[in-house]
Subunit: 112 residues, 2 copies
């Protein structure tokens, strides 16, 4: 494909750092809202809510309300969400691996 403009709408959701991190956090099974909030450093309540709703709308995850006491909500990847997780893994690994090189490049740029 030479023209990625159709993909742009999709990337607006899945090519978002918070979405990438949420999808990664769900790789080992369902998680509660509070668990996600705690494990994704720096995400606000509002941003997590919006990210989860967008990913649910796109069929990446399901939201389940547990009517127990106390009631809680959990999120789980769909089968499509699991394929997305696989597709995002190389980008996450790249980011971790290149952190020092990027930090060095930034320092050099800022010193100019």
């Amino acid at each position: 494909m030479e023209d990625p403009c159709e993909a742009r709408g999709v990337l607006g959701i899945v090519g978002d750092k918070w979405a990438l991190l949420v999808v990664r956090m769900l790789k080992d099974g369902p998680r509660r809202f509070t668990e996600l909030k705690r494990s994704i450093d720096g995400i606000s309540q509002r941003m997590l809510t919006v990210t989860l709703r967008d990913l649910e709308r796109d069929g990446i995850l399901t939201r389940t309300v547990h009517a127990v006491m106390p009631p809680h909500v959990s999120y789980e990847l769909t089968s499509m969400g699991r394929t997305l997780r696989e597709a995002t893994a190389p980008l996450l690994e790249w980011s971790i691996e290149h952190l020092p090189l990027i930090a060095a490049a930034r320092a050099e740029y800022d010193d100019r």
Copy 2:
């Protein structure tokens, strides 16, 4: 790695839809600003300028000013940028491949 918070700063740059599209557009060699602007549907002049500067700062691409008449500026992936391009390819391919499924999921969600 269980804690991706360090990677968050990097993802803020490379996990951005415009950055993903710019990196993709440079895969076959250097491109001028005007070529990038034309080939990335919907990107504003300002957003392209900011995205290119962030990617240059992070060592993903180089910016070259050509002092000819008329003068122009071109952008080219660094060797680190080329490895980023490889890491983002699965996510872009996933996005294209799953467009119809995502559109269907959105329609179903919005009909609830």
